[in-house]
Structures are given as C-alpha cells and as structure tokens.
C-alpha cells in the first residue's frame, strides 16, 4: 500500500462522500488512488471554489468538507477559500500535494510553503514527513476540524511521501492530543447563573450567531426562546436559526440590520449572546452595551469571550450540549410587555424607499421569491448589495440561509450552492448574486453541468459593484472609481453557451409568473433580474 492509497483509505474511514479538487503533478498519486475508492471526485474550475464548495457541503451536511489541490499555485489559490472558512468557523480539510520532500526549501518548480502561508487562516496544519504518519494525521485533522470551534485544517503531502510504501495501515480509533481538549459541557454553576439572570430580567434578548448552526443546536435554542417567550435577534451568520415569521423573532442586528433589532439590543437589560463574536459589523460599539445590561456570552471558544466585550456571565462549551442542559431548568420570566414594546418598534419601522418602476425592486422581489420557495429551501447569498437585500427581505421558513459573513468573500454563492447540492441533492437551492460576484465564479457553471450538481442562480444586474458604488456616493460625493461593470457578457447568451435555461426580469410586471416558471423548471436555471443602477441598500 502506498501513501496515496492510505490517504484515499483515510477519507473512506472518515466517511467522506465527495472531494472537490483540481489536479497537478504533485497530487497525481492521490487522485490515482482515489480511483479505487468509492468517493465522488468533483473537478472545479479554480481551486478557490473547491474550498467554497467544501464549505457549502460542510454547512449543509454537518460533516467535514474536503478539498484538494496540487502544490504551488494550486495550493495558494485555495487560500482565499480557506480564509473564508476560517472566518466563519466552517469545518473543512484541505489536502495539498507538495514537491519531493528532499527538495523542500530549494524553490523548485511549483513549490510554495503552503503550511507557512495559511498559518493565520487554519486551525492547524500538517506537513507530512513520514508515510507512516498518514493515518494518525488524517484522523487528527478531521477531529480538529469538526470539534471545538470548527475550522479548516490543511494537510500538505510531498509527492515522494504519497509514493512511499506504508508498512501497516491502521486507522486510529481514537485521537489522543494532549494539547487539544475542547470544552463541551457547560459549567453547572454558570448555567445556574444564567437561569437566575433570566428570572431577574424584565427585558431579556437572545442574540444568535453562526455557532448555533455549527453546533446543530437550532432546535434547542428555539425551544429555549419559546420556553420563556424571550425575543430573539440574529447576526448575519445566525440567520435562519429562527424562522423569519416567528412571533419572537426581531430580525438581524448590525449596521445593515433592522433598526428595531438594534433598538432591542440597546434597551434590553439582559443580552444572551449565543455562538456570536460580538464583532464590529454586528455591534458597532460593544462597550456601550455594558452600562446597564447584564451580558451572558455563550461560546465554544474561550478566547472569544471577553475579546470584544467583557461579559458578566461567561459560559464556555458546545451550544447544543449547553442548551440541552439549560432547558432542564426552570426560570420565572414574564416579558410579554417587552415583546409588545418590540412589536411596536417593528410596526413603526420606516418603509424602504421604492426604486424606479422601470426596474425590479429587490426588496419586493426577494420577498416574493422566498414566499415561493419550498419550506426547507437553501438560500445562498453572495456578497454586496444582493447580500444586504437578501438579509433584509428573505423570509426564512424552515430552510437555511448561507453567506460568507466574516470574510465577505465575493463569488462565494455559486460554489457554496454547488457544495450544498452535493450534500443534499433533493433540496431546493437558490444562489443569489450580483453581476459582479457572479463573474467572480461563473466558471463553475461548467462544474455543475459536468458533475450533475445543478442549482438555480439569480443575478441582480445593476451594472455596478453596487455596495462600493453606494459607499463612493456617500463618502466621495459620487466620484465613482473602478465600480462600473461595463463589458459584462450577455448573460442570456452565456447561459445558452453552458446549456442552461435562462429567464429574465426587467421590472416587476409579470414577476410572479416568471419566478414560478424559473422555480418549477428542472435544475439548473439562471435568472437575470434588472436592478436600478442607483438603487441603495438603505
């Protein structure tokens, strides 16, 4: 058995269903060995998207996503995808080929120090120096990626190690890392303090973040909120923890969030942060919260607690485990008046200004789209104005909302949607992007066609990098620089070239019918939606 066979066997042992990758000489032994295991291999069109697909796959399947690239440029192309996964704590394992270990450090063809280059974007990385270490390293890598605070792990394997003979393949049953023992169970005393704080609170609020999804604790957290009738707001990454129309749900916080969600945070006397980082986009001035509010911060990563704001009650552990425990306790909480107050704020929220009628109104369009989507549909938003409109107007029923939150990586939606499709082929999946972000990953249309991973794609076409244009309008008095997207292709012809059915919506007239046709046709399909070039998020 060769090192490469051992690598493929390890993936089988980890129950990996699919790898997203791109070959090159330095990873060829591995891809050759993959022929003899029954794991799907998806050829992407650029490596960055292999990492995004692994991310989309991981977020929907709850398993570790796997992407593979060759040495040098293949590996460095992965970095943006790895950094994106790191920022949102998505569990992926990245396997890279490397030049012959005897030549490491001598700048031979396609050599890049990838473990060094990704150091600040990975949870851990390995450079395999001995073929006998492969089973242990793979076992550890999958364990590290999928436990504690999730995140990417990279394994760099020199070609001579892939070609070396491994004397004995034993996949370790257990991981024994003396330095890595993440906390799962919440401290009982701290849990009791949380219960006591709820009992004493008149205006409690729960703020959910991406950690709730990562811990698969949606059910437990919803139960917790409903048990006491505590209102809930969400960060960008926490969207779809709560259904939008849940009477206890009050929208997204932050500078692009709902004003009443921010108001709820500011006026509450008890904030329960669950799996959220209290980052700059969500809470503009974290220190302001503290004055007369009790802050409970629940997170799996002790370093997040107190990083941006000092909590009164820190609680470290896995969110699912913690809420299974918390839900066994009983507290006195009567905050119906508070919910009533918040409903008043919600009713008074200013309406969005209507754009010109000759274009599609993104707010109305997204609301209409989400009403027509299946109950458990997956909605993947890209980055930019399209993302902010999606956050604001997509109505989540019981599906998922995915986007690149921490890193804000343009071009995420299409590969992430393809990865989600690989995880759950039966589910309805829609990627919504702008004409800018679409052109950052449109090469993957070929990937989805080739591998039978079709998704529905909606392009918001306004001819601008809209969010930056909006910024330049406000900050640079409308002096636009490098935001005009003239030169974009005819998206209809492009769809035709890829053999993808095409729909186009110029304004809201007949929108319902076009959307019905688009959603009911067989996957894939692409829809171009014309947006007022001067339309703004707020």
């Amino acid at each position: 058995m060769l090192g490469a066979d051992a690598m493929a066997r390890c993936l089988k042992e980890e129950n990996v269903g699919v790898v997203f990758g791109y070959p090159g000489v330095a990873i060829c032994p591995f891809f050759n060995s993959m022929l003899s295991v029954d794991i799907e291999r998806v050829l992407v069109r650029t490596e960055q998207n292999a990492a995004h697909m692994a991310s989309g796959y991981a977020r929907i399947s709850g398993k570790v996503g796997v992407c593979v690239a060759t040495s040098g440029p293949g590996a460095t192309n992965l970095i943006t995808g790895i950094a994106t996964a790191y920022a949102d704590s998505i569990p992926i394992v990245c396997i890279t080929g490397q030049v012959d270990s005897g030549q490491l450090g001598s700048d031979v063809f396609q050599e890049a120090d990838i473990t060094g280059a990704v150091e600040s974007f990975v949870k851990y990385s390995y450079l395999v120096k001995n073929v006998e270490d492969i089973p242990r390293i793979f076992r550890e890598a999958f364990h590290i990626a999928s436990t504690g605070r999730r995140g990417p792990v990279l394994i760099d394997v020199p070609i001579d190690i892939q070609n070396a003979v491994i004397s004995r393949f034993v996949y370790p049953a257990e991981v024994n890392l003396r330095t890595y023992k993440p906390t799962v169970k919440g401290h009982t005393e701290q849990i009791k303090k949380v219960i006591k704080a709820i009992t004493g609170s008149k205006r409690p609020i729960i703020c959910v973040g991406g950690g709730v999804h990562l811990s698969d604790a949606t059910y437990e957290v919803r139960n917790f909120a409903h048990k006491y009738g505590i209102p809930v707001v969400s960060t960008l990454m926490g969207l779809s923890v709560m259904p939008t129309n849940d009477p206890l749900y009050f929208g997204m916080v932050g500078n692009n969030g709902k004003p009443y969600a921010n108001k709820a945070m500011n006026e509450s006397d008890l904030i329960i942060m669950i799996g959220a980082r209290v980052a700059d986009r969500a809470i503009s001035q974290p220190d302001l919260i503290m004055d007369n509010t009790v802050l409970v911060h629940i997170d799996v990563d002790p370093a997040e607690i107190g990083k941006n704001v000092g909590p009164h009650i820190p609680l470290v552990g896995d969110i699912k485990a913690i809420f299974e425990e918390i839900n066994k306790y009983d507290a006195e909480c009567n905050c119906a008046d508070w919910v009533e107050t918040l409903n008043g704020y919600k009713a008074d929220a200013p309406q969005r200004k209507k754009p010109r009628a000759e274009y599609v109104d993104p707010a109305v369009f997204i609301t209409m789209l989400s009403e027509k989507l299946n109950d458990d549909a997956i909605y993947v938003a890209d980055v930019g104005q399209n993302q902010m409109w999606s956050c604001g107007y997509h109505i989540v029923k019981n599906g998922r909302f995915l986007t690149s939150g921490g890193m804000g990586t343009m071009g995420y939606s299409i590969p992430a949607a393809i990865g989600a499709r690989a995880a759950e082929p039966q589910r309805q999946i829609v990627a919504v992007c702008g004409d800018g972000s679409f052109q950052m990953s449109m090469m993957e249309l070929a990937t989805m066609q080739q591998h039978g991973l079709p998704v529905k794609i909606i392009i918001f076409h306004n001819g601008y990098l809209g969010l930056v244009r909006e910024y330049q309008y406000h900050v640079y008095k409308g002096h636009y620089s490098v935001v005009d997207l003239s030169g974009s292709p005819d998206f209809g012809k492009l769809s035709e070239a890829y053999g993808i059915p095409f729909y186009k919506l110029k304004n809201m007239e007949g929108a319902s019918k076009v959307l019905d046709d688009f959603l009911s046709c067989k996957d894939p399909a692409l829809m171009e939606v014309m947006i007022d070039p001067m339309d703004v998020v707020k």
Partner: protein, 161 residues
Amino acid sequence: MKRLYSVLVENRSGVLMKVAGLFSRRMFNIDSLAVGETDDPNVSCITIVSSGEKNTLEQIEKQLNKKIDVIKIKTFNEEESVSRELILVKVKYNKSTRREIMEICEILGASIVDMSKNLLTIQLCDTPERTKLLIQMLASISIVEVARTGVLALQKCSLSD
C-alpha cells in the same frame, strides 16, 4: 504593564513560527523571546515577555492556549518570577577608558571574556534591570555591538512548595 509567559510547546518544526506569527498577526508586543529544549526533548519552552493593557495580556494567553502545539502556559508578573538574561557587549577601549570599563564590570559583576588590542567583550548574566544598567553605563564609552538572549524566567518558589 509587563507580563511573562512561559509557554511549553511540542518540539516540532514550525512551532516557533506559529507562536511568533500569532503575536504579529494580532498586534501583540514581544519585548523579548527566548526558546530552548526542556528536560524532555519532545518539549520546548518559549519564554516571552510582553507588555500591554490587561485585556490584551489576557487575550495573549487565551490565543496561545488555542494553538494546538501549545501544551501549557504559565504567566506571571516580574515580581513573581526569577528572571535572568545573558548579555554580551563588545566595546572599544583605549588606555584612558580601560580602567573605567573594568570598574563598571567589577561593580556589576560582569566578566571580560574576550579581548584584543582595541576591543573587549563583556559578559553579564543577571536580571533584565541589571543587564540594561550595564548597557547604559557602557553607552558613554563606545559600544561596538550587543547580543542578548532575551529573558528566561521561572516562577519564584514559595515557602509552601
């Protein structure tokens, strides 16, 4: 505020880069850094002196703890530690300064470990304050070059230990 971190790490290649990289990426200060094997050849000890606000100093410890190659961290203030630094100072001398240099060495307990017609190399192993003092005293005479190890530290023994 100064703080000392005695960080036990797995003795693997790249670990120093990971620890030092963490400091640069998160804008933490490194006042000094020293690294060496411990009595266990699989374990190295990195001694870091850092300074910053209380919050930052706490974050340093938490972020170090997240590194999978980090086995254990002990942190302490200067007063709670026995700390030493080795320093080598090369100075230019002539007839008129030689006597003064030797007096400084004598007072501070430093020794002259190498010399030529015009140059002297002085060695001192002492607390960071004393090594700093040596440099200050020699600065007026003409220092050619300085090499120092960075601070090594262990927590003070308490009577109950």
